[in-house]
Symmetry: D2
Subunit: 295 residues, 4 copies
């Protein structure tokens, strides 16, 4: 039963895979799905779905290289003697930064004090660490088929556009592709992360997330996600509050899909083998990731 609703009328997978489940929609990635996925890898060509990131130097003052405010990754290059034994560094990483392509684990988001699949946040996240819904369940990584739906081929969506299921249907028709159960959905809206971000962004509606539930999408990645500022006062963050928390569908925030879109324009194909291999870090609520689209 893939189109359940919670008692609040919103799409929900709570209970679908048991009360202790941590995999969420990754349960949909069966052997059959994986076999379908690797069948898309024919030449070994691939593109990255991550934004490149330049670390900011932790040196301060007139001798330090310029750095942006609130950088996602900072670097302290370590002194190890003259001549140095080897160059190494300490990195300070803010995984959920919008300028860093990252994977959200279910414990990242709570609704009314509950995280997927209905577990109290206070049990899931304690001062001792994340006991439930962390990256632990994802740390092995993800391998499945990915499908790109380009919502604005060659351009970008209008500012503050509310994306509905019908937009996803239309993109499928344009591309001649269909999102099957267990596929990862990769969305292009033509909006890249920007430091100033003055303009209201487009974003997914509950209707679009319901579409993802109907299609049994296992993972979402996009250059757009929830609208900022929010558009729906009832559900300000549909992807996070419904997709991640109610469906247990992991999210890749801040995907970079321009290279993917241009490759597909060239090849005329919209499906690929997707690998998501975060550093094998357990117990986090998010982790930077470099998804590969292999075809």
């Amino acid at each position: 039963m893939s189109s359940g609703l919670g008692c609040d009328g919103l799409p929900s997978n709570w209970g679908r895979w048991g009360a202790g489940d941590e995999l969420g929609t990754l349960n949909l990635v069966t052997d059959e799905v994986r076999a379908r996925a690797v069948a898309e890898a024919r030449t070994g060509r691939w593109v990255s779905l991550a934004m490149p990131v330049d670390p900011a130097s932790m040196l301060g003052g007139p001798f330090a290289p310029p750095a942006p405010a609130s950088p996602p990754v900072q670097q302290a290059m370590l002194y190890t003697g003259i001549p140095p034994m080897g160059m190494s560094e300490v990195l300070v990483v803010t995984p959920h930064h919008p300028g860093l392509t990252h994977l959200d684990a279910p414990a990242h988001m709570q609704v009314d004090g509950l995280v997927y699949p209905g577990r109290p946040l206070t049990e899931a996240v304690t001062p001792a660490g994340v006991e439930h819904g962390s990256t632990t369940a994802f740390a092995d990584g993800v391998l499945t088929r990915g499908v790109l739906l380009d919502l604005a081929p060659g351009g970008r969506l209008p500012s503050a556009h509310p994306i509905a299921g019908a937009d996803l249907d239309a993109a499928e028709r344009r591309a001649g592709v269909r999102v099957e159960p267990g596929d990862a959905l990769v969305v292009r809206g033509g909006w890249a992360f920007s430091w100033d971000g003055g303009e209201p962004t487009p974003g997914m509606t509950v209707d679009a997330v319901a579409w993802m539930q109907r299609r049994d999408v296992c993972l979402y990645a996009g250059d757009i996600g929830d609208a900022f500022p929010p558009m729906d006062p009832q559900v300000p963050m549909p992807l996070h509050q419904v997709g991640l928390t109610r469906l247990g569908m992991p999210l890749i925030d801040g995907a970079q899909v321009e290279d993917l879109a241009s490759t597909f324009a060239e090849l005329g194909r919209y499906a690929f083998l997707l690998t998501v291999a975060p550093p094998r870090l357990r117990g986090a609520t998010g982790v930077p990731v470099n998804p590969f689209a292999i075809f």
Copy 2:
């Protein structure tokens, strides 16, 4: 010319791909190699070659969960209100930590003040950042064929064993597999990272690194690497000082290959599609990584 020697008589690729090259042996991964690699991916089954890591809490004192000394990853779970808006964290990462599976970039290691391919360290690494030989060239990731050579099937190498080319030849014969140009070499010695590490480890000799050069290995990953303590006073770290610096061969330190070994024992195959997808971080000398062996 794949078997060049430097003027010091040690294997060297300096100059092979030009004076400004940053890819090193990754230049060997041609379209043909990638096509051979994806041909190994038949079912979509995969294993991770990374050690799982539990972050240490940055809380201190009697209320803090116990943590090891010098952990590779530390986590500060962020307060974001009551109830929290969302759970997120700051991570402090020491990429070159032996307890963290990571990729070494050429600028990590210098010999006589030079990094691959003969560039002065002082030009390659400056207070403003790593200008040459950083992870920038690798940030897109690596996709190639991987081959596992198990040097001690079902057990482990003797302590302080010096691994020679002949050991690699013998492992090939046992497995009925051959490392081809552009392949990644994955080695199992049966020695996992340990916090106490009192026992002298086995390690690669210059002879073994010369073997890798002859075979045009594009990348090395192993649960063992350079012996610690060093065995050869002339070249205390053959993999790092010859493999990384002179050959420009990226290294994955601290690979976890037990899962790979048992999978292969089950399937009777020793080659696979290898993907290495570090966070797309430029300008670092090392970065944590979760390599996938897909078959």
Copy 3:
């Protein structure tokens, strides 16, 4: 009115200096108190009341110097060229660590969701920072008279000893000194911070904190504080939950008072000029500090 009780029957200063007060008992340090304090400084001899701290190296692995688990201060020595332009570092500090002498600001501790003087925690501490009760009010530092009460001259208090007001009275009589309004109280119990900390420590009771209120103590510093494990299930942390939260009395946790005690044994004086000069950091809930006892 310096001996108020809250509606829960516990000592309280809520409302004594207004609803928006952030100084708490530091309001008691008048010009007259300060004049009395500097009169104690006659020779310029001084001792530090801070534990010395060695930073732990953030380098990891076999080349790194050994470090304790969960250190209070970590150091990444920065690479700034060959030869280096100048040596500098990044420090990672956990201010509330029991191995680091530090000053607690009122926002550090809440009781039933309220911080001194009855402000909701959710207003005092927000994701944007600490709006009320932070170190901002203390960042200029403290200058007052300090008085040492040695509860176990030449030895140490018994394990798990509950310290009552009568213990403080007895120490005053022994030393021939009297804690006056606006004085800082420095307590010696003979228990230093220890990493293993297996033994139950002595600690202050509500009765002792009520004594501090009656005497109008402006600040508490001690080598002991709240008992760990707690002794009183109703009020597990009397100094923090009553002294800091209800009285608004700043606490210096982890003071080192052995040097002070031996100096006083030598001089036969138990009062001194106390200066507390934390880094002038606003908006924190705690900050490392090096109090001076000048006489």
Copy 4:
């Protein structure tokens, strides 16, 4: 012999207090100097010589409070449950940041590979830590007499003004005060730290540092220091390269002296009791500090 020159003709104290000395000019603070210092403390009024600092939040993204680029102090407020057990944080500190009032230890600066008093940098600072010339020798703090020399009363020095000994003499005459052996010299130039810092700053010349040597100044603090950009190609940083390295005179960079200047304008006094009490951190090359001027 307080006016020695090194073999390069520059003022030097190398050898004056032995080859292993780490205190440098702090050796000049005798019991007599300290007695003179506390005699200046008459009322207990005091001002801080530190710039207030607001930590930058380590949260990133649209929900995070705005932060400057390259902040001197960052703060990660820690999640410790709902309701939180207590509020605490991790601080990331860059001690030598020009926006943070801090104390430089001798090992901060080398000249021709040597640190005060002629020790090779490679012995003083090793991968294992700072073995010589660190904050260890200063960690107890400093107590001495301070004298303010205001070089531009009521205004500020011209841009790029080279400060000579004659400027210091003139300021003494204006104020009717004299810097005695063992005093700390506090200088006001009317230039506060600024983030943009486009304008060339005034700065100390070798002539001024020679004046400090003649007067046996034990410590320098100022709102100005070395000119930026440098004015003297031979000695681009006279205070750091001569004062700190050759004289062993600790420097307080980025002092805030406006409050001190206005207090003295009010009182007509230019000398005071100075306390410098850095967190008692050993093994660092710099540490934030909040100097007190007590009078």
